[in-house]
């Protein structure tokens, strides 16, 4: 009977630990430490393979960019380059770098270093660089002069905000090995450099003395990963955290009214979507190493029926507690101008009857009367993946699978953390899940993710892809190429509208809602928080995260109020109940032993 004790104690301990996690970690000898809580761990610090928002924040702090994004309106601003000019054709741009630029290890940053990243990332098609540099060739004409030549008209230039990596570190790594590189070198030219990463727990970055804007006022920034968002909110309230990213919507209203805490609804075009695995054999891949989607999902009518079966208004109201707007097409940029207005007949309105009608007409009927439609004599059962790192994932699943049941489609479930789910998606071993995107300023990267060549075909690295639908639409690719070289902003916007409408009609993505980044920070520890873009954007995890180099510690930065939060009290109560059960059990056993003797 040993298991009662571990079981009861484990339940109590899990609750208590998760809630009271890490009440230690106070700064020794007056170091100024900024502690940020979040619920998503890094997937990889390696800029050629990482895909998660958390990893982008790491790179924002560690890697410089040639041009920066202005804090207030995301327009192109000086970065490593202090000025630039173009020739008459508009295809050749000459950038002049700042004087005295250095990596944190003392190696100078020359134009040659920048050219190295641009050229190598194009040749090797690095995941996070390629859509920006695909047509560019860079050449250093002297220490501080970089000439970038585009083979086509490029509407994105002179903006060139890809992460520049240290050449002297990366030239040691061969192209075949680069995906496996751990990237814990900590060589930085941003405000901070990575010192330590404990998977699933935290990563720690120290200020970089040779940052070109000047050393920042914070000595160290610690990102603490929470398994439970509620525990994160409790830690913010108690002063263990200075800021928190991805605050749960359920807790947001209470933070808005909390004293000493500023709650931020950060709009930067992020959205949640339901993806339906629609890989239909293009581009070809080794089928023995990949999983295939459920065949019915390859039928456009089924995907359309599913799109009709989702009530986005209810999702926003119930899952996001009203913090968000019902989704239509994907949102490729923080600027809503890039999104088309859909006409009424183009829109998949929520209508279960119509959804059922579509499936009936398509010949998927329920012949055995068990409430589930059949395909080739077998019940239609979709594999639905749940993200353990998002507290919205299960509520979304509750609703979506409920509606799917209403149109005669059954589901089975599996749960994954974000790192695992990327691999599962790359392998094609799913039919549906809900995830989200946060777009960049220029719509190009987001648009490029849906191209055919972004589908996972590399069996040696299942995380090497962007297009998680597996849907290949050559027409879309053609439009992408067109907008990619269109210099007339109005015409480019038109093409983008057409692309997004096409993508919407394909119904491989059902955009559920555009959702703000819910963040909160303490006002008693630091001043100088910057919203990017101004007034509406988030303060952290934005496109270039300007807050970190603007923050100043406040003189009276105490260590929280020392009081116990409600959650901590609840945790103690639960732990107490566990202990009581334990004592009760021991007493019972002892009596039983006495009887034996």
């Amino acid at each position: 009977m040993r298991s009662i004790v571990p079981a009861a104690a484990a339940l109590a301990a899990v609750l208590a630990l998760a809630l009271a996690a890490g009440a230690t970690a106070q700064s020794p000898d007056q170091k100024v430490v900024l502690t940020v809580g979040l619920t998503q761990d890094l997937d990889s610090p390696n800029v050629t393979v990482g895909e998660l928002v958390s990893s982008f924040e790491l790179w924002n702090l560690q890697y410089p960019t040639l041009t920066d994004l202005a804090a207030d309106d995301l327009s192109t601003a000086p970065g490593l380059a202090e000025s630039w000019s173009s020739d008459d054709s508009g295809r050749v741009w000459t950038y002049t770098l700042r004087e005295g630029l250095e990596w944190s290890d003392g190696t100078p940053i020359t134009a040659e270093e920048v050219a190295y990243t641009i050229n190598r990332s194009r040749e090797e098609e690095w995941l996070n660089h390629y859509s920006t540099v695909q047509n560019l060739t860079a050449e250093a004409t002297d220490e501080r002069t970089l000439v970038v030549t585009s083979s086509v008209d490029d509407p994105k230039l002179p903006g060139l905000s890809v992460y520049i990596v240290p050449k002297h570190v990366y030239e040691e790594i061969e192209a075949s090995e680069i995906g496996k590189y751990a990237a814990l070198d900590g060589v930085s030219a941003g405000p901070f450099s990575l010192k330590e990463w404990k998977k699933g727990q935290f990563w720690r970055m120290e200020a970089n003395d040779s940052y070109w804007r000047g050393r920042v006022a914070i000595d160290e920034v610690v990102f603490r990963v929470f398994r439970n968002a509620d525990a994160m909110v409790a830690a913010l309230r108690s002063g263990e955290l200075d800021a928190a990213h991805n605050v749960p919507a359920a807790a947001f209203p209470s933070l808005e009214t909390a004293e000493g805490i500023e709650a931020v609804e950060g709009e930067q075009g992020g959205f949640d979507y339901l993806v339906l695995n629609s890989y239909a054999g293009q581009p070809p891949r080794d089928e023995t190493k990949f999983d295939a989607p459920h065949p019915v999902l390859l039928d456009l009518r089924v995907r359309q029926a599913i799109a009709h079966a989702i009530d986005k208004e209810t999702l926003v109201e119930r899952v996001l507690s009203g913090l968000g707007t019902p989704g239509t097409t994907i949102s490729p940029s923080p600027s809503p101008a890039w999104m088309p207005e859909l006409s009424e007949e183009e829109t998949y309105e929520f209508d279960l009857e119509q959804a059922n009608q579509i499936l009936d007409d398509a010949g998927y009927t329920d012949t055995n009367g068990n409430g589930v439609r059949e395909h080739e004599g077998k019940d239609i059962v979709l594999r639905y993946a749940i993200r353990t790192e998002s507290e919205y994932s299960k509520p979304y699943a509750e609703f979506i699978t409920g509606w799917l049941k209403d149109i005669g489609i059954d589901t089975t479930f599996s749960s994954y953390d974000d790192g695992q789910l990327i691999e599962v998606a790359g392998k094609g071993a799913f039919d549906a899940y809900v995830w989200g995107w946060t777009p960049f300023v220029d719509p190009d990267p987001m648009l490029s993710y849906m191209k055919c060549d972004q589908i996972s075909v590399d069996a040696s690295d299942f995380s090497n892809f962007w297009n998680d639908t597996g849907l290949c639409d050559p027409e879309y690719d053609a439009l992408y190429a067109e907008q990619n070289t269109e210099l007339d902003p109005d015409r480019r916007e038109e093409i983008v509208h057409e692309m997004l409408t096409r993508w919407y009609t394909n119904a491989a993505y059902v955009v559920l809602a555009t959702s703000p980044d819910l963040q909160a920070y303490r006002t008693d520890r630091f001043s100088g928080w910057v919203r990017q873009p101004a007034e509406i954007g988030p303060v952290l995890f934005s496109n270039s995260s300007p807050s970190y180099w603007s923050l100043e510690p406040l003189a009276s930065s105490g260590d929280g109020d020392g009081g116990l939060s409600t959650a901590a009290i609840a945790a103690i109560a639960i732990a107490g109940a566990g202990a009581l059960a334990l004592v009760g059990w021991v007493v019972l056993r002892r009596r039983s032993v006495e009887e034996r003797e």
């Binding site: 009977m1 040993r2 298991s3 009662i4 571990p6 079981a7 009861a8 484990a10 339940l11 899990v14 609750l15 998760a18 809630l19 439970n228 968002a229 509620d230 909110v233 409790a234 749960p248 359920a250 807790a251 209470s254 209810t314 119930r318 899952v319 507690s321 749940i386 353990t388 507290e391 299960k394 509520p395 699943a397 509750e398 609703f399 699978t401 409920g402 509606w403 049941k405 209403d406 089975t412 479930f413 599996s414 749960s415 939060s565 409600t566 959650a567 609840a570 945790a571 639960i574 109940a577 059960a581 009760g584 059990w585 019972l588 039983s592 009887e595 034996r596 003797e597």
Partner: protein, 297 residues
């Protein structure tokens, strides 16, 4: 012969029941348990399973305290806590009992064969159960559940195959003493096969111990189910008390002080586990020959 045996068994049963009735703790446990079993069986009459699905509860207020949505309020998606609690009892009891059946069957087979055959069979089976005994239960169950995937069937299987060794050892010890009894030897001398001796003499004699042990395994299984569901390893969309706790935890019910969400399932788990333990202990005291000797009655 058979009629005689039946009569004897009936009398033994009646006597056991009489003894059991004198045990106040055991009777309390039995009453509580009866209540929960009744609720689980009558769930369709007591609650509305349509209310378990969030798509059907969009008319309800979310986070409603019991006063606003009697009797027990609603959760973050507007689903009534009461309906979840009633239907959750089915999963908890089903898992508890089904997993125990698996554990008891494995434990009995292993225990009886090990004790009866002795020699290398005993040695191998003993090492096997020792191996299962020393592995910490929770990590093993988590790993198994993660590999097999989250579903009710797998949870039952995982708990079943990880909680048999205690039963096996207890039964083996009992079989060792029974094996030495004269009537077993007599039966053997008359040419009875091993199977006959095991079925006719050994099994009926260890049966009481098995029953008592089973009753004590059920609460462990229920708690394990709660823990595994709480860790997100059971069927994510099937309501059990453990999954209710997990939902409440991840939706931030603790921070919002929505006590009506996490308190009822927690109390129910405690009540059922306590009830099973009380019944099990009472039965054990009556049926386990080793405990019986010391008893006054």
């Amino acid at each position: 012969m058979t009629a005689l045996a039946w009569g004897r068994r009936k009398r033994a049963l009646a006597q056991t029941w009489a003894e059991y009735r004198r045990d106040r703790e055991g009777m309390t446990g039995l009453l509580v348990l009866g209540g929960f079993v009744a609720v689980a069986l009558l769930a369709p009459l007591l609650a509305d399973d349509a209310q378990l699905s969030a798509v059907n509860t969009t008319g309800n207020e979310v986070w409603a305290p019991p006063g606003e949505h009697p009797p027990l309020g609603t959760d973050s998606l507007g689903r009534p806590i009461y309906d979840q609690l009633v239907y959750g009892s089915q999963v908890s009891l089903l898992v508890g009992i089904a997993a125990t059946l698996i554990a008891i069957v494995i434990g009995t087979v292993v225990g009886v064969s090990a004790g009866f055959f002795g020699g290398w069979v005993d040695a191998v089976l003993n090492r096997l159960s020792e191996w299962f005994l020393v592995i910490p239960f929770i990590p093993l169950a988590i790993v198994l559940a993660a590999i097999l995937g989250p579903s009710l069937r797998n949870i039952i299987f995982v708990i079943g195959v990880t909680s048999w060794p205690v039963t096996a050892r207890l039964i083996r010890a009992q079989v060792l003493t029974i094996k030495q009894r004269l009537y077993v030897e007599r039966s053997r001398a008359l040419g009875a096969s091993s199977l006959h001796v095991m079925g006719r003499h050994v099994l009926p004699n260890v049966a009481p111990l098995v029953i008592a042990n089973a009753t004590l395994t059920v609460p462990v299984a229920i708690l394990s189910e709660t823990v595994l569901s709480f860790l997100g390893l059971s069927d994510p969309l099937r309501v059990s008390w453990g999954s209710m706790l997990e939902d409440a935890f991840s939706a931030g019910a603790l921070g919002r002080e929505a006590w009506w969400w996490y308190l009822p399932p927690g109390l129910c788990v405690i009540a059922v586990v306590l009830a099973f333990t009380l019944v099990g202990r009472a039965l054990e005291a009556i049926l386990d020959p080793r405990l019986r000797a010391g008893r006054a009655g």
